[in-house]
């Protein structure tokens, strides 16, 4: 008979693991938040006016407007053309913002990643190379990290608000407002992907004396590129949503038309805009999903 001493030695089970702690923490914080915000379930029951609004709002879901709900001056463009025009501009601002963000994000992502200068054999044999790798690049790395954290800590709508206050309403402001936080996010994720990509070819290049830039461009970047492309495409989808919401601040995108229809209580028109936005986002999501499946095999 086997004695129990021969059983494999296991760590004693903890009462609550890290996951349990996380869940308990979240629950406790939620209860605290409930009291902090003075929430009552009763506030969830819409007031009488609210119910009326809700009825008319959800009735609109079944019949999105194909014509304006009120009298319009003759010669006004049909509503579908208006919606399409707003949708087109939504895509235009998202694309322009995203293209700027991509360029900025790649440059900042390069300086925010550490795999190409950190470690052994850095900077080759030359003295300047070692100096760069031991003092300059770490310093640049730290500054870039700080910069991209700040860029993405401020929401794109708040960037837009800041630009509105600083320059006045200008469509280029919308593009930059999208570009700045998105560049920060892309740079962060890109640098993480580069740092986490397999190092084999990078190390091989380093051992034959390549410069850090060569290690980056030919050793590390190609390994991370598929993931980077997939992520950039996902962010494009987010950019379209952001671009639509910027309309609430006066920029000519889908949110603008939506807010107008909502304020005029034209709920059928609201749903036309909502469906247009949904169609746009879903098309991009399915497309990016299909592309990602090819990229990240």
């Amino acid at each position: 008979m086997k004695s129990s001493a021969e059983l494999p030695l296991l760590a004693r089970p903890a009462w609550i693991g890290p996951r349990g702690t996380a869940i308990l923490l979240l629950t406790a914080a939620s209860i605290a938040a409930w009291f902090l915000l003075d929430l009552t379930p009763r506030a969830l029951i819409p007031h009488a006016g609210g119910i009326e609004v809700a009825k008319r709002f959800f009735a609109g879901a079944l019949q999105p407007a194909f014509e304006y709900e009120s009298e319009v001056p003759p010669g006004t463009r049909p509503i579908l053309v208006t919606v399409l025009e707003y949708a087109r501009r939504t895509v235009v601002f998202a694309t322009a913002g995203m293209s700027l963000a991509l360029v900025l994000g790649i440059v900042l992502g390069f300086f925010a990643s550490s795999a190409w200068w950190r470690g052994e054999h850095i900077g080759g044999a030359s003295r300047t190379g070692r100096f760069l790798a031991r003092t300059i690049w770490p310093f640049v790395w730290l500054c870039t990290r700080g910069l991209i954290t700040f860029m993405r800590s401020v929401h794109e709508l708040l960037w837009a608000v800041l630009f509105l206050a600083a320059f006045g309403l200008n469509t280029f402001g919308a593009v930059i407002a999208i570009a700045i936080p998105y560049a920060g996010t892309l740079a962060k994720i890109f640098s993480e992907m580069i740092d986490e990509a397999p190092r084999d070819s990078g190390l091989a290049l380093r051992q034959i004396g390549s410069s850090p830039i060569t290690v980056f461009a030919f050793g590390l970047l190609p390994r991370a590129l598929p993931d980077m492309c997939a992520y950039a495409f996902y962010r494009f989808e987010c950019a379209i949503r952001s671009s639509a919401v910027l309309g609430f601040f006066g920029f000519p995108t889908l949110g603008y038309g939506l807010a107008q229809a909502f304020e005029n209580l034209h709920y059928h028109e609201v749903w036309t805009y909502l469906y247009a936005l949904m169609a746009l986002v879903i098309v991009v999501e399915l497309w990016s999903g299909a592309v990602r499946a090819r990229f990240v095999a």
């Binding site: 819409p46 895509v91 293209s99 800041l162 006045g168 280029f172 949904m278 090819r294």
Partner: protein, 314 residues
């Protein structure tokens, strides 16, 4: 050629030709090439279509606006006459924080925490109907992928997935805008908006996680005679919890970011004070609240990174 050499596709390729040969054999996808071309065209179109007022940005009037904004407007109103003193600025910021900012920041955090809990709970139920290996007639019967799923089960997953995609296709800001009209001003519209959008995202990510689970232990449970509910509670949740929590805390970070902004609709979070100072053109206060927002987003980011690192090690 020596006998016994390993035969492979490149045996008669001399080393110098190997690279071009490999280049020719690289994986190529028509969809990817089409996408890259289409996106490049789209970028060119976006910049050239004339919707972006690029020239209009750099006029003398705008330069003047900018100079006024940076030169005077963002400096604390009360301190503009005095010579610059860091201590007085800190004092000014602290007073503003105590008066409004810190409470708003706390409310922002509270809203995102509640929204996250709601979203995570709702999505953990929804994902059971969205995951194709669970929502089937005979879950975990074999170790291969689910076989025939039956029309009704396929309808269930399709509907759930449609609901999830609907939830996440609408931005939080628009959800909040709509709920505000229905429920009136309280924290609920913001919480519900954040919860719905994130439930759509977490449901999708969770369903993917469950579909990629190693089916062995689930199958074992099934063979022990466990019911569907038992399989879910005893096998599926514990197995996928780590990854799911990673996603939850990753979304928490984004949630705080969005919650800051939702206040601009008139819900008491930091955004409320941003909007309020903006409409009164107190840009000094507005910039302070924006920066305070950046600080709490940064704090949430650090917290979520810390928690995720701990969870990943576990």
């Amino acid at each position: 050629m020596k006998t016994g050499a390993v035969r492979h596709g490149f045996e008669d390729v001399r080393p110098l030709q190997a690279v071009p040969q490999l280049w020719k054999l690289r994986p190529r996808s028509r969809l990817v090439r089409f996408t890259l071309a289409a996106l490049a065209l789209l970028v060119v179109y976006a910049w050239c279509a004339g919707d972006i007022g690029f020239d209009e940005m750099f006029t003398a009037r705008r330069a003047q606006n900018f100079e006024r904004f940076v030169g005077t407007e963002i400096q604390p109103f009360e301190l503009r006459a005095e010579p610059f003193s860091l201590m007085r600025h800190v004092e000014w910021a602290w007073d503003l924080g105590v008066a409004r900012g810190f409470e708003g920041a706390l409310a922002t955090l509270a809203m995102s925490i509640l929204a996250m809990t709601l979203a995570a709970s709702a999505a953990s139920l929804l994902l059971l109907f969205a995951a194709r290996n669970v929502a089937t007639r005979d879950p975990f019967q074999s170790l291969e992928t689910a076989g025939a799923r039956g029309l009704s089960w396929r309808l269930v997953t399709a509907t759930t997935r449609a609901v999830l995609i609907f939830l996440r296709a609408i931005p939080e800001y628009i959800w909040a805008y709509v709920f505000l009209a229905l429920f009136g001003p309280s924290a609920w519209p913001a919480i519900l908006a954040l919860a719905l959008h994130n439930a759509g995202i977490l449901g999708k990510l969770g369903a993917e996680t469950v579909e990629n689970l190693e089916p062995r232990s689930l199958s074992a449970l099934r063979q022990l005679g466990a019911t569907r509910a038992k399989i879910v509670v005893a096998g599926l949740f514990p197995l996928s919890l780590s990854r799911y929590l990673l996603y939850v805390f990753y979304r928490f970070e984004t949630c705080v970011r969005e919650a800051t902004v939702l206040g601009m609709l008139g819900i008491v979070s930091l955004g409320y004070w941003i909007q309020e100072s903006r409409s009164r053109q107190f840009y000094d206060q507005m910039v302070f609240f924006v920066l305070l927002g950046a600080v709490i987003v940064f704090a949430a980011d650090l917290f979520s990174t810390f928690v995720r690192a701990r969870l990943r090690r576990a």
